[in-house]
């Protein structure tokens, strides 16, 4: 058992990476495997600095491939293990993530997005959205929480462990370099104080199997196409069935919004800044922010899109969320416009200007 550091509500002024390390501890995560990459390093640094107090475990591996696969090993052995990565690290860790997807391993990973493609920048982006949801050679049976600040980081990192272990789908915190490196106030708490019970993490590969127990053999390879499909059809059915329990979203002045901004993560916060300003100017703007970007909360999303007169997709990427949303809002005819800044933060001003221009010259399909 790991020692929990936060016993009562504690307000702190931290970087997001520090928040994630504290959150993992609050969730009783007891092992981190990882490989350094900016901008997620401080999760690891904080975790390591706290080790004497937490008595948790840590292993720095030789690369992200091994960080991913050893995390799987740790989970199989019954630890609430996790990892974190970003950018090119996220790319090569897909190898392990796709195995976790196939084997239904409760893999938890924090992704702190940086500019892409390739090494690009170490700073910030939302360009790992597609990758985190659908990376690997599979169908994306994954759960992805896109956070928008430090309280989210704490809340959803705790939740990620429970989601992963309850449903046995790889679960991600999708954040970014801004969130990782910036400092803002956050309330840390013991999950129990919020009525949150942590799921049990029984070992999948058991030590001390008694002689009369059948050995557990887990695999990811099938000899026949049909065997694979049968398995995946089950996953599909299950993923769809549990989706309603998992889906989360946030609306901000979306009820009567004529212009609906769809944004996730930290960009959604800029949208709120813009919406306040726009409302002051008499423009009815609102926000739909998917919190789970996989699975998407399709019903409220469609409803909000239907209600609006125009939609604005905005991302620090080139429409990666938009692609996922457009798939789900097919059939609706509300015209949309886009404001994409690849690898660059979207500011409130950017959005105010854009929405004003949409009011002047409405978007067409």
């Amino acid at each position: 058992m790991v020692n929990k550091l936060i016993k009562e509500d504690t307000k702190m002024f931290l970087t997001g990476n520090e928040v994630l390390a504290y959150a993992a501890n609050a969730a009783e995560a007891d092992f981190m495997y990882g490989y350094p990459i900016t901008p997620q390093n401080e999760i690891m640094h904080t975790w390591c600095k706290l080790l004497p107090k937490t008595e948790a475990g840590f292993l720095q591996t030789e690369d992200e491939i091994s960080a991913g696969f050893s995390t799987i090993g740790g989970i199989l052995a019954g630890r609430r293990a996790f990892t974190a990565t970003a950018g090119p690290g996220n790319v090569i860790m897909q190898d392990a993530m796709s195995m976790a997807e196939m084997m239904r391993i409760p893999f938890v990973c924090a992704v702190m997005q940086r500019g892409g493609p390739s090494t690009a920048t170490v700073i910030y982006a939302q360009q790992e959205t597609t990758l985190t949801c659908f990376g690997g050679n599979g169908e994306g049976y994954r759960i992805v929480y896109s956070t928008a600040g430090h309280q989210d980081l704490f809340d959803y990192m705790i939740k990620a462990f429970n989601t992963a272990w309850k449903y046995k789908f790889p679960t991600f915190i999708l954040a970014d370099g801004y969130q990782g490196k910036m400092r803002e106030p956050v309330m840390l708490y013991d999950p129990a104080s919020r009525g949150i019970t942590m799921e049990k993490t029984p070992a999948i590969l058991r030590s001390g199997v008694s002689a009369d127990m059948k050995a557990n053999h887990i695999r990811n390879t099938f000899n026949l196409e049909e065997e694979l499909m049968e398995e995946l059809d089950k996953y599909e059915e299950e993923f769809n069935r549990i989706a309603p329990e998992i889906e989360e979203y946030e609306e901000y002045k979306a009820d009567d919004a004529e212009i609906l901004i769809i944004a996730h993560g930290i960009v959604a916060r800029s949208a709120m800044t813009a919406i306040d300003e726009l409302r002051e100017k008499g423009i009815k703007a609102g926000l739909f922010r998917p919190i789970t970007i996989r699975p998407l909360a399709v019903k409220p999303l469609r409803a909000a899109c239907q209600r609006a007169k125009q939609i604005l997709f905005t991302e620090s990427a080139n429409g990666q969320l938009a692609r996922m949303v457009l798939e789900k809002i097919y059939g609706i005819t509300t015209p949309y416009s886009t404001l994409y800044k690849m690898g660059v933060g979207v500011t409130g001003d950017d959005l105010v200007q854009k929405v004003e221009s949409m009011v002047k010259t409405p978007a067409a399909i």
Binding site: K181, R183, R269, A274
Partner: protein, 187 residues
């Protein structure tokens, strides 16, 4: 004004981020909403170092802004990098004793201070950044002197305890910075 947006930029060695940290720590301690993003790139040293700070009475939305209320620039390269954050509502401060050029910007106020010179000649090269902190404090008017002193104690207390004369030196630097701006305001 409920939210103040500050950009502070300089060279790697100038202590920009330490100043920013003290400032936002002070803001946090006084119960304000605070958001601080240190800029970072691939170079561990060598690039221009910028601190993006926001201090507000209400919840802060956007993490990065288009235009700052106050921009402080401590080197020529900092001027080049920060012009983008300046508009007609921005108060711009730069160090005339380091920069070899004057920022060519449209802004609310352009203030040149010679903090580096003062540090080197009057006080100590090491408190250059604290003078800047004083300038910042005066420029923003969001936090009180005591708030900052508390935050300085937090950040530098151990050093002060070891060498008590340092505390005085730093306080002097802080006030010198505040006065510097008071003198120069309106230039």
């Amino acid at each position: 004004m409920t939210r103040t947006k500050i950009a502070l930029a300089g060279e790697g060695g100038q202590g920009v981020q330490s100043v920013a940290k003290i400032l936002v720590e002070a803001g946090y301690e006084t119960g304000k909403q605070v958001l601080y993003i240190p800029n970072f790139g691939v170079e561990q040293r060598g690039g221009v170092s910028i601190a993006f700070c926001q201090i507000s009475d209400t919840k802060i939305g956007e993490p990065r802004y288009s235009k700052a209320d106050i921009v402080i620039m401590l080197s020529d390269r900092a001027i080049d990098r920060c012009t983008t954050y300046i508009d007609e509502n921005t108060t711009v401060v730069y160090d005339t004793s380091v920069c070899t050029k004057k920022p060519e910007v449209k802004c609310k106020k352009l203030i040149g201070v010679d903090a580096n010179l003062i540090a080197n000649t009057e006080l100590s090269a090491r408190v250059f950044n604290i003078i800047i902190l004083g300038v910042l404090l005066e420029a923003t008017h969001v936090l009180g002197l005591e708030d900052i002193k508390n935050a300085m104690e937090h950040a530098l207390g151990k050093k002060f305890d070891a060498k008590p004369e340092l505390r005085e030196l730093n306080y002097k630097a802080l006030e010198r910075g505040m006065n510097l701006l008071k003198e120069k305001a309106g230039v």
